[in-house]
């Protein structure tokens, strides 16, 4: 399928980190190449990074503990950073957080760069902090993340269970930027993934130009809260 609006495409390697300022008026599609990928993601207003993704505001405005098409990702300032405009998966995880060095060593053992070169074991937390450093951000800027392609189910007693097989080969999710969004992505495994092997998966990204959300845009009209979120976001650019 050839889409002339695509500006560029790229593969993000397993266990790798990637960042980009996704401009208002563009969208990014994340595609799970092999199935079973996980993409940890954090977001900032590029022009003023102290405005950043706020997970609790996002969940309580929409009464959700999962992400799919029609939902939006809020900043702490009541504005919409990104809209989820398309999704073949149906469930992306907001709860599980990221792996850290201790967890990766306990689960998969250590694998140093000296011995394993670029197949050495990485963790999402340290990888986020390194990438954040490139943009002048540090540990005090770390925020709760989304895990695209993964699913964690919560039972009546609050117990969290990772659901394997949530995303298949070719599954995708598309995020439309409603602001100029510094996004940092990492493809390490989900921290609750029971797979005992270090087997992070690659993803494909495609960035394309999109039209501005219309007055009847599915995300804008999905609930009154999101309508107000779009109003506040539009006012930021006036």
């Amino acid at each position: 399928m050839i889409d002339s609006s695509i500006l560029w495409e790229e593969t993000i390697q397993p266990g790798a980190t990637w960042s980009h300022v996704l401009k208002r008026g563009t969208a990014i599609r994340l595609t799970d190449i092999e199935g079973g990928a996980n993409v940890a993601a954090i977001f900032y207003n590029f022009e003023c990074p102290v405005e950043r993704f706020n997970l609790p505001d996002t969940l309580k405005a929409q009464h959700i503990a999962r992400f799919t098409k029609g939902f939006v990702l809020y900043s702490d300032m009541g504005r919409i950073l990104l809209s989820i405009t398309d999704d073949s998966v149906g469930w992306h995880d907001p709860l599980g957080g990221t792996s850290n060095r201790r967890l990766v060593e306990q689960k998969y053992g250590s694998a140093s760069y000296q011995e394993f070169r670029n197949d050495s074991h990485k963790n999402a937390r340290d990888s986020f902090l390194i990438e954040m450093g490139k943009w002048g951000l540090d540990s005090r800027d770390l925020v709760a993340n989304v895990n695209f392609f993964s699913r964690v189910q919560v039972d009546d007693d609050g117990r969290m269970t990772f659901i394997p097989g949530n995303s298949k080969s070719g599954d995708y999710v598309e995020l439309r930027a409603e602001m100029n969004v510094l996004m940092i992505l990492n493809t390490c495994q989900h921290p609750l993934d029971p797979n005992p092997e270090y087997q992070p998966k690659p993803i494909r990204i495609a960035i394309r130009q999109v039209t501005a959300p219309a007055f009847d845009d599915a995300c804008r009209v999905s609930r009154p809260e999101n309508g107000r979120g779009f109003t506040l976001t539009d006012r930021y650019f006036l």
Partner: protein, 221 residues
């Protein structure tokens, strides 16, 4: 209406008369205070169903702070109660909950802000007092170089915010009552930042914010 098993309720042996510090936090006011390693820290819901929005920091490194996601990931459960270790963004245990007569506390719902109130209720609600303004006021007065970057996802003590197996976040009737409390032991020196929630738009506190009490006991010998 959720039902909490009474087996999860654990009382503390510490009595108020032995506390080395007691303070009433009025409705809508913040409170910031250091707690030394080994000390015990209790929050009392004096009038019932009052949201106590709380953040913790390593007292010697504010970049190492309470992390809601790390805490629920570590215990594989979204509710905080007796036995919960409050985990920092660097993977350290800041405090352990040692007693809880309420049974369940939320860490997904976050703190209210002027801006989130505009989204949730009405743009005209911007002027109404909100937790994240209280947080900012407290860290400005604290004057140790903290800023909005340090206001991260918090705990809502005494709030009941269940997640359903279908992935919905719901705000249920409170399960707290007058006199219910939660008590923690500091596992390292911590800074506590509280906003005693002023929210008037949400039935969680019966539209009536009320005072709470905090108490500190010395470390056990």
């Amino acid at each position: 209406m959720s039902v909490i098993a009474t087996g999860t309720l654990v009382e503390s042996k510490r009595i108020a008369a032995d506390a080395i510090y007691r303070q009433i936090i009025p409705a809508g006011e913040p409170w910031i205070h250091e707690i030394a390693k080994g000390q015990y820290f209790r929050i009392v819901d004096l009038h019932g169903n009052q949201a106590v929005d709380t953040l913790f920091y390593n007292a010697h490194d504010y970049g190492d702070r309470y992390s809601a996601q790390d805490t629920i990931q570590y215990q594989r459960n979204i509710y905080l109660t007796t036995g919960t270790k409050l985990i920092s963004s660097s993977g350290n245990v800041l405090l352990t909950i040692v007693a809880d007569t309420c049974g369940r506390h939320d860490t997904l719902g976050g703190a209210c802000a002027n801006e989130s109130n505009m989204v949730r209720y009405a743009i005209e609600k911007r002027h109404m007092h909100a937790c994240r303004s209280s947080f900012l006021k407290a860290i400005i007065d604290w004057d140790h170089g903290m800023s909005k970057r340090d206001i991260t996802a918090n705990i809502n003590f005494f709030m009941n915010v269940p997640v359903t197996p279908e992935g919905k976040l719901t705000f249920e009737d409170g399960i707290s009552e007058p006199g219910k409390y939660v008590e923690m032991r500091a596992e390292t020196d911590v800074l506590v930042l509280i906003s005693n929630c002023p929210q008037l738009n949400n039935p969680c506190n019966a539209y009536n914010p009320t005072p709470v009490e905090v108490m500190i006991w010395a470390a056990e010998p």
